[in-house]
């Protein structure tokens, strides 16, 4: 399902510990950390909902200053949407027939 990469900016006090905290979940891979406190993360999630949960959790970790997405590949999910197998949430289908009553 969706694969996304991010650049994470870390507090420089103890970046290695922050990285260890990021890797608590097997769906999160850390591919490198530079001297400016920037890390490359890849999330390989089971669903878009899971991707969102993981990204939210990472952003909330102590010492994480920002988590910026740069790449998203959702080809599996989009193929399922196209085939009708998967329907996005918050999709209601067109049914506008009447103007909404005015309050």
């Amino acid at each position: 399902m969706p694969i996304a990469s991010f650049i994470m900016t870390l507090d420089r006090h103890d970046p290695e510990q922050i990285i260890r905290n990021c890797q608590c979940d097997s769906e999160v891979e850390v591919h490198g950390l530079d001297d400016a406190g920037q890390a490359v993360l890849v999330i390989d999630a089971t669903s878009s909902r899971r991707l969102e949960e993981l990204a939210t959790r990472l952003q909330q970790l102590d010492g994480v200053l920002s988590l910026v997405p740069v790449y998203l590949n959702a080809e599996d999910e989009i193929a399922r949407i196209e085939s009708g197998e998967l329907r996005p949430e918050f999709s209601f289908g067109r049914k506008s027939e009447k103007p909404a009553p005015l309050s």
Partner: protein, 795 residues
């Protein structure tokens, strides 16, 4: 998907990210070769920053991936969650795919053919013109339309229908910035570029929650601060402590509506402590009051006597004291380079133009302009408010190329370029947005085309104007990609192609024009607006039996709609209408834009110059080609803008002016509104992206803990917000965000119970005509404890 393919994609994702920060990871060639995607360069769709992206399209022609464009000087490859997700609405099942029509707004829609739809639209607009005159017709567009679309629609309205009733939603968000730039600098749009962020030593953020509204730009600010913790100072002035405030060295929290006093007080300190640039003022500035009466610096200083730091601290309240004002003034004036950024908090005010003037004053007084690291920069909310609407003639008072419609000479230039008789374009400006919808209410406007925007949700005091839009004698066409609150009030709904499903140019906040070419097919019968407008106008000319009307689209008729047609429109606009204007874009041809990763900044009069990227800083000889060609003396800066005959910057005397509606005993609180990071505007798009909708499924009202205690409100309680215009109800977020005495609500939610624009006041700036969304008076009460709510989008 095989395991190996997932591994390749993961590797590619990692390499992409690593390349943006200069990190080396092994294995690049193998992973990139395995992707099997074609990458198409274009712009992001969801704010005014102008981030460049690459859309990944698979062999079936389906968009399945997105990544940032690393060569872009706007975002350097970085994206935000909104930007990364936007392409996913392309295949959304809610997309409009067939023209829909109903004679009466009480009837259900029925699907019709394009032929039938265009005939109906032509017949209705022609009938309105014949029976009620040209000004009974109107066009209301958007800062999300491509420049080619805005340009073509305004050309049709002015040429075929002979009305200047041409407006767009940028009137609601940046008209005060236009007024400010024109009256202070003599020319619209910022002098500098985003590149000043990394060269600045002081960044002044006022009336902007950049962290949520322009997150990629905010990342640049944050990165600059982190890399230069001691050298770079950040000042944030805002009645609300927002995500942006967290990086500030100094947060100035003031009572809503006292921003003009605060800005005057900073100017007072700059003069009082002799921190101004005497030579810059002598060379480049004059002082003005009223309607541009020239005064001297002594008169200006005299006008500031009501704004000593001590007096102003008493006006502003909040955490403001005299020393904070002085500290801000010193940081700003003594830094090697100061950049100001602002957005709706300044523009959406009853005196938004004045507030803009007072920010510009600080830069003129200190000479913090026209050099690296120094600029006075109004951020823009939409991707093409600048390029399309401000530059392309998308407002009722301006023709393409920053030409006031009331100026006969400039009007004649446009008529000549279009090959229509002189006198064809009406000399009187049309109805600005609020007046336009007042005229819809009165029935004076009989036929209205709304393109790519939803005024039935985005106008202030919106229920009042929805009543007019619901009138049976007002024919409304809406062209859009999804159902909205506005399609609900329309007779004819036309399905349009989305971004990357058509070709055209966006011009972002920093005068940068960027091309996005068609990469995927639109769904169903959705079509590009340029094709729709062209075909409509041809039928309109037939209905009107007016060959001049046909002239509006004659050069574009029959052209291939994906690229050739928008390219022909762009060529006409840039080559004929920007020639020798301050936004000269003649060098920014499709061929040049196609070569540039991040487009071209105007002025760019030749292709050779445009291929260098264009003009990063206006008015500077050696950087801006017009500064040399338009030079009148040997000074290094040449302020050649069309608005100031004296070619000077104007320092304005502008007194403090509060909100149009201040709290009183019956309405004791301020109500302010704004944005959250996960959503954009009316949520017609972001509301259909589950990841974004789940993050912020409905509006909240932020209440300061002290106010919450006073009103007996706990977190997540349902709270009624009542103003003189009505009531809405939404959950409470009790947070040390808004200043005591102010509540702050998110404006995106389109649910009837939570649509905050139903209660916002529709007063507007007398100069810019931009409404004061940001401040009105309200009262609140706890309705109940927490309730389960359902996210909502119109479908």
């Amino acid at each position: 998907m095989s395991l190996s393919r997932r591994d390749f994609i993961k590797r590619s994702a990692a390499l992409t990210a690593a390349s943006y920060i200069g990190m080396t990871l092994p294995g690049a060639t193998t992973a990139q070769a395995a992707e099997e995607l074609t990458w198409h360069r274009g712009s992001c769709r969801l704010c005014g920053v102008g981030c460049r992206v690459q859309l990944g399209v698979n062999v079936k022609g389906v968009a399945v991936a997105l990544r940032g464009e690393p060569k872009s000087r706007t975002n350097f490859g970085y994206l935000c969650m909104k930007g990364m997700m936007f392409y996913r609405i392309m295949a959304h099942p809610d997309r409009l795919t067939k023209p829909l029509y109903r004679e009466s707004k009480q009837q259900p829609f029925r699907e019709i053919s394009w032929d039938e739809a265009l005939d109906i639209a032509a017949r209705k607009f022609a009938a309105a013109k014949r029976e009620h005159g040209p000004d009974s017709t109107a066009y209301y567009g958007s800062g999300q339309c491509l420049t080619e679309e805005t340009y073509l629609f305004q050309k049709i309205m002015r040429t075929a229908l002979q009305t200047n009733n041409v407006e767009g939603n940028p009137r609601l968000c940046m008209a005060s910035a236009v007024g400010g730039y024109l009256s202070s600098f003599g020319a619209d749009e910022p002098i500098g570029s985003y590149a000043n962020i990394e060269k600045s030593s002081c960044i002044f953020l006022i009336g902007s929650n950049m962290a949520e509204a322009h997150p990629v730009l905010f990342r640049r600010v944050m990165r600059h601060k982190l890399d230069n913790r001691d050298r770079v100072k950040i000042i944030n002035a805002d009645p609300r402590f927002s995500a942006t405030s967290r990086i500030a060295d100094l947060h100035l929290q003031f009572k809503p509506g006292t921003d003009l006093a605060l800005l005057n007080a900073i100017a007072y300190t700059i003069i009082d402590e002799k921190l101004f640039d005497q030579q810059f003022l002598a060379d480049y500035a004059t002082f003005r009051q009223g309607k541009a009466e020239q005064v001297d610096m002594t008169a200006y200083w005299q006008s500031l006597q009501d704004y000593s730091p001590e007096k102003t601290a008493a006006i502003c309240g909040g955490n403001i004291d005299a020393e904070k004002i002085r500290a801000a003034a010193r940081m700003f004036a003594t830094s090697k380079g100061s950049v100001s950024f602002w957005c709706m908090g300044i523009n959406q005010r009853k005196r938004g133009v004045w507030a803009n003037n007072l920010i510009h004053n600080l830069h003129i007084l200190t000479g913090q302009l026209c050099r690296e690291g120094a600029d006075s920069f109004s951020l823009t909310g939409q991707p093409n408010a600048c390029g399309g609407v401000r530059e392309g003639g998308g407002l009722c008072h301006i023709l393409p190329g920053h030409r006031p419609v009331a100026n006969e000479k400039l009007r004649n230039q446009v008529e000549d370029a279009w090959g229509i008789p002189r006198g064809r374009i009406a000399p009187k400006p049309g109805a600005h947005t609020m007046k336009m919808f007042q005229q819809v209410n009165s029935g004076a406007i009989k036929a209205l085309w709304i393109n790519c925007t939803s005024p039935a949700q985005s106008l202030p005091n919106v229920d009042l104007y929805r009543q007019g839009m619901a009138r049976e004698d007002v024919f409304i066409v809406t062209s859009d990609i999804f159902p909205t609150r506005t399609t609900e009030l329309s007779n004819l709904v036309l399905p349009t192609a989305f971004h990357f499903e058509k070709s055209g140019v966006y011009g972002c906040s920093e005068r940068r024009s960027q091309l996005t070419l068609k990469a995927v097919e639109p769904p169903g019968d959705a079509r590009p607006e340029t094709w729709i407008a062209t075909e409509w106008c041809a039928r309109l000319a037939d209905q009107l039996q007016d060959p001049v009307a046909l002239q509006a689209v004659k050069p574009f008729l029959g052209k291939e709609m994906a690229v050739a047609q928008p390219q022909a429109i762009w060529d006409e606009y840039t080559q004929q209408l920007t020639k020798h204007r301050d936004n000269d874009l003649r060098g920014a041809t499709y061929q040049v834009l196609g070569q540039m990763a991040d487009g071209v900044q105007w002025p760019a009069p030749t292709e050779a110059y445009a291929l260098t990227g264009g003009t990063g800083i206006k008015f500077v000889k050696g950087i801006d080609p017009l500064a040399s060609s338009e030079a009148k003396d040997d000074k290094p800066y040449q302020f050649y803008g069309p608005g100031h005959p004296d070619r000077k910057l104007w320092v304005w005397i502008r007194p403090q002016a509060g909100a149009d509606e201040e709290p009183d005993s019956n309405w004791p609180l301020y109500l302010s509104t704004g944005r959250v990071i996960d959503h954009w505007h009316t949520t017609s798009m972001t509301g259909r992206i589950p990841e974004l909708m789940r993050a912020n499924p409905y509006s909240f009202v932020e209440i300061n803990p002290r106010d919450a205690r006073q009103y007996g409100i706990s977190p997540n309680d349902m709270v009624e917000i009542e103003t003189r215009r009505g009531k809405v109800t939404m959950p409470a977020k009790v947070v040390e965000g808004p200043i005591v005495g102010t509540v702050f609500a998110y404006w995106h939610d389109m649910h009837e119970d939570r649509m905050i624009n139903k209660v916002v006041k529709d007063s507007f700036d007398p100069g810019s005509k931009e409404p004061e969304f940001k401040i009105c008076a309200c009262r609140i009460r706890r309705v109940s404890g927490p309730q389960a709510l359902t996210p909502f989008v119109v479908s």
